[in-house]
Symmetry: C2
């Protein structure tokens, strides 16, 4: 049975207790959202003593199920003011699960400012002074952690942005080579960790008991079905779209569809798209050689390998990895078509501990406010560095897109619930707009990725420009996603399981075999819905009601080229999302 680690940062006490009955069989987002709902007052200050930060492996994390290495982090978000779950792919979660820890809860605030590190072993935990890491970038810290604790440890940590409690700060987890590059990025949970005076968590899994499914045979069978589906689907197979070009394969596709937000959402087409595309990344990896590579993976057990390492012209490593979202946010959205500039911006985000989506959204708004010209990469780099300096400008930019817009009186701010929109124009792809508007997380594509049928013809086909049936579509996607986030699977298994029913069955079977349940496909929807409503209730109590389930006003009256479309899903249609 799993254990629950409670770390009280006021008393500097660590307690390890059996996982309470009600949480058994839960995991990932299901567990973090339950615990936050149960233990955090919805109206508390996100950086105050009553917020908590919960880390939870998914239900099947730590097993050999493919792509199951996602960790969920939950808390009340300093960015949105609502509940937040943010997840990342990393060996950290696999170690944590194998050590028998079902959840880790950080609570309380230190009475004096300090900088500590939490070290967890199978025998318990220890808070260690980490003053040598204070104020340092995540790359340097990651190196210091492996130097000190060995390369077999896994870790997570925050950068200077999290220490400064900025709402754009994420939590970095190690990748297989020890880079601090896998992010639970969204919603400012790094600031919550910073408010608690914790710079890093290190896991030493020596002697870990490992995880054993309740029904190992059935598990193996489910695992096989899922793996086969992943390896068969065009999007996820070896040599498929994601494997060959990374997630940035989407740049040209969205640009083609007129749905690639460009220059702070002024157009759906970017003339420089090809230069920052997945194809361009693959070409650079090929041409420049050296450290550059496509087909990198974020955690052991991944069989998709959509990550990459981007190399400088001389072949030395620049950054891992340039995702679609980052290439878009720091590229097209800023009018920047230079991959080296984009890579440097990503590297800075990783090092300072920032969400790249929020960073690019923020830079777009900063450009709109006149702080830089659209397309000026070097100036964008300069602006981003202000965050690390902690200058007044850095304190504006570090709080994100909405905040930066407000500081400069900008009316075109592409956010929902104060969270920056990702790389899909909601006016041109209505279903994803419904997801942005209604998600409990704020604007978030991963909450209900209707792009699959709207753009990629995966899981059916839907006209992106039409709003017809999009509320139902988004709802179905959000429900299933919540279940996947609970299971600990990478969201990209959605592509194969949408199209290949044995893959879906395999996914459900692994969960059932793991915890001894008999969930059916209907249960996936039911449980997903339960998670969403739990989160929605928290938000309602936090004062985030249906009036926050709205697109930014400018999208309702400003026509987006090239389709000259506005956001036309009505308030009533959106409100139907939460009807039972």
């Amino acid at each position: 049975m799993g254990k629950l680690v409670r770390v009280n940062m006021t008393k500097k006490e660590i307690n390890i207790e059996p996982l309470p009955e009600k949480y058994i069989g839960k995991g990932g987002r299901w567990l973090t959202s339950m615990m936050i709902s149960d233990e955090v007052p919805a109206l508390c200050h996100p950086l105050g003593p009553n917020n908590k930060l919960v880390f939870a492996p998914g239900i099947v994390s730590g097993t050999r199920a493919p792509n199951s290495g996602r960790i969920s982090v939950g808390g009340k978000s300093p960015l949105t003011g609502g509940i937040k779950e943010s997840n990342a792919g990393t060996s950290f979660v696999q170690k944590m699960a194998r050590m028998g820890y079902s959840a880790l809860v950080l609570e309380g605030l230190p009475e004096e400012e300090n900088c500590l590190m939490l070290k967890l072993t199978v025998d318990g935990g220890e808070l260690i002074p980490a003053d040598d890491l204070r104020g340092k970038g995540t790359y340097e810290c990651a190196g210091m952690i492996w130097d000190k604790f060995g390369e077999k440890t896994s870790f997570c940590l925050i950068g200077p942005a999290g220490e400064a409690k900025m709402a754009m700060a994420g939590i970095a987890f190690n990748d297989p080579e020890g880079r601090s590059s896998r992010y639970a990025a969204r919603g400012g949970l790094g600031a919550v960790m910073g408010s608690k005076g914790l710079k890093a968590i290190v896991l030493d899994d020596s002697g870990a008991p490992g995880v054993e499914p309740k029904d190992p045979e059935a598990f193996k069978e489910g695992q096989k079905k899922l793996a086969q589906a992943i390896m068969k689907h065009d999007v996820t197979k070896k040599g498929g779209a994601l494997n060959s070009f990374g997630t940035a394969v989407l740049i040209n596709i969205l640009n083609e569809a007129g749905g690639l937000p460009t220059r702070n959402f002024r157009s759906g087409v970017f003339e420089g798209a090809a230069k920052i595309s997945g194809e361009a990344l693959a070409e650079a990896a090929e041409k420049r050689g050296g450290a550059g590579m496509m087909g990198h993976s974020c955690h052991p057990g991944c069989i998709i390998h959509c990550s990459n390492v981007y190399a400088r012209e001389d072949g030395s490593e620049h950054v891992s990895c340039v995702e679609y979202e980052s290439a878009w946010s720091l590229g097209a959205n800023c009018g920047i078509d230079n991959l080296d500039h984009v890579a440097e911006l990503v590297r800075l985000c990783n090092d300072m501990g920032l969400d790249t989506i929020e960073a690019g959204g923020m830079l777009g708004v900063a450009m709109e406010a006149g702080l830089a010209e659209f397309g000026d990469g070097p100036k964008a780099i300069e602006l981003l560095k202000e965050i690390g300096k902690g200058s007044p400008l850095g304190h504006i930019l570090g709080q994100g897109t909405q905040f930066t817009g407000e500081a400069y009186g900008v009316t075109r701010i592409p956010t929902v619930k104060r969270q920056s929109m990702p790389a899909y124009e909601p006016r041109a792809v209505k279903g994803i707009g419904v997801t942005y508007a209604t998600s409990t997380m704020g604007a978030d594509h991963t909450a209900g990725y209707t792009i699959a049928p709207e753009i990629l013809a995966v899981g059916g086909k839907a006209d992106p420009l039409s709003k017809k049936d999009k509320v139902g579509l988004s709802k179905a996607f959000q429900q299933t996603t919540a279940f996947i986030d609970a299971a600990g699977y990478c969201l990209f298994i959605a592509f194969p399981i949408l199209d290949i029913s044995s893959g879906f069955d395999g996914m459900v079977q692994t969960v059932n075999a793991m915890v001894g349940t008999n969930y059916t496909g209907d249960d996936v929807t039911r449980i997903g819905d339960e998670i969403l409503r739990l989160e929605h209730d928290f938000n309602l109590q936090a004062g985030i009601g249906k009036e926050a389930d709205r697109m930014p006003e400018f999208m309702t009256y400003e026509k987006l080229p090239p389709h000259d479309v506005v956001w036309d899903v009505t308030d009533e249609e959106l409100d139907a999302f939460w009807e039972k």
Copy 2:
């Protein structure tokens, strides 16, 4: 019958139309809140094309009724995101009413940035280029306006903060001597005016028809009853508390009661209170002589004269006026006990076009964040000047208390609905806390001044430390206040009319005689309640629900010296405020 002036800033068109039927007989806050509710989409961007700014004289403004020279300005607030009415005492309103203008509505946004001035005469209006005023402080602009249009004109204008669309920006109206010192300060309406590209409004009332009550005899009688009550009451009479010491007479009184928020609401007692008190102001006026004076008034027809002019050591004018709220916010709340520093901070606020309450609240939080030491007047002056410079730091500070706290991760932010609390500690004076929490305006003492019975023994007596019956008390005060704000009377008539029933009757009688109604005392409550619910409905539609009717979390767990009290009014008790 009154006229309605519509100024479309997109088309640069001015239309003068008869006041629509439904608005006849309304005025001040009643009229602005009705028009905003009717015409402004609750979820619009406050600085976008769909917000409007409404100026409306009170029902009896322009008459000879005592202290009736208050103008209401309404709009959707860039600070709170909710509806806003902010009012000021000035001859501007008297001229506007006598010219026959019942309301002036600014709508639309200019397509290109520009800086215009609106000149209104009895014959119509004209938009005039005002590039010579652009970026200039309000004092210099005020002088230029009188130089150009003559000293018989009245005006209102915004400072550099309003032009930069900062959420702390107010709208300055002229005082009798042409100072830009009478502010509709709260809620950032100056930023709305700035977003519309309007720097100033000038009124030339040559040939104004004047206002005539429907029943002149009854009006005169009511006016007399009210004037007699004002002149009889200890607080408002000639040589009384307000006349002798200004509103700052409250400094020592609140300090004595342990309710003077000190150093960002860390204590209810300020050891330097006496040095920034009304008594100290009066002493300085006496000692320094020259321009300094107590008993100044904000508009002709005021018979209380609570304003003042503060002189420098050499007798030259420093600023008018040092109000209680300003002496507190820029004094005690910042730990500053030097009146010359306080006066300079007030002067800077007036010149840049800032709300002094929000400015002092912001400085307190900035000091909490470590940007200055509490008590450091010169550094506070330096910080405030950043706003005028438009530096990144200025763009933080200019957005107010909540924003500044968020920029620096501060958890002790004394705001409600993002608006800075005024000069009364809600933990030590519970009734005013209920007003802060429930007011549609955000934290606002003028919305329901329960200080009268809780501290001043006016209108009965109530224990400030007890929460008993305070929701009902605040409700009664808020209802009556809304009526007074509709009538156009100065809120200070509340002192005499609470204690002297003929004064109350006189107030109601002037309104009835003015517009031909038969309102009774019950109607005062009913109409006040109607106004409040209209505003509340707007806020609900803007997503500001009961979860926003709350005190900052820290006040619920941090004990306030010297009484060691926390905020203990429950959520349920607060929610009862809006029950019918």
